[in-house]
Symmetry: C2
Subunit: 115 residues, 2 copies
């Protein structure tokens, strides 16, 4: 049997994580999810002003990667909300490490409600 898995770039766990997380917006969206935001307009309202096409794309990718689940919270009209899966919640330590580093090296950044 063939036991080998084909990785995008290498078999390094960091590299494989970055194949999902390695861009300027994905972890910002995950931060918002970790803070309890669920709806499209809530993500749009964040101070980084993400473009709507980028947000839609990231939410799709996050769902495809199993970090987020999307479900309709009402019909008529259909409205969706997004929630972190356990896999997505598992990124909180990464976010926390980034906060620690960021606060140290960009001193005037603001604390955000605990993630």
């Amino acid at each position: 049997m063939n036991d080998t898995i084909t990785f995008k770039r290498s078999c390094c766990p960091i590299t494989n994580s970055l194949d999902i997380l390695g861009d300027k917006w994905t972890l910002v969206v995950i931060r918002d999810l970790a803070l309890g935001k669920k709806r499209y307009q809530e993500f749009m309202a964040s101070s980084e002003r993400i473009a709507s096409n980028i947000l839609a794309d990231r939410l799709k990718q996050l769902e495809a990667s199993g970090l987020v689940t999307r479900r309709a919270y009402q019909q008529k009209p259909v409205r969706y909300e997004y929630v972190l899966t356990e896999k997505g919640e598992g990124l909180k330590p990464v976010l926390r490490a980034l906060v620690v580093w960021g606060k140290k090296h960009f001193p005037s950044t603001k604390v955000i409600p605990t993630i």
Copy 2:
């Protein structure tokens, strides 16, 4: 006096960290640096096969951001080596968090020598 600093996107520490780290290659290079690699060819030799122009660009950006120092380790011909600054070393917890998450969710990824 004006005490406000203009941030690229927002005053969130995560966002500001990602303005430096948020792409597919930067943290891979930092991983190599954290593993003790110093020279251009050592980075080039990593299993991810980074393109040489991207590597040159990332090393420049890392130096500009104060995460790395570059110094000639010999003259005739001049050869350079790159070493993490304390600010760069400070990213190790982020790398470790990524390793933990990556190993859990990409089970067949290989352990790398402790970072």
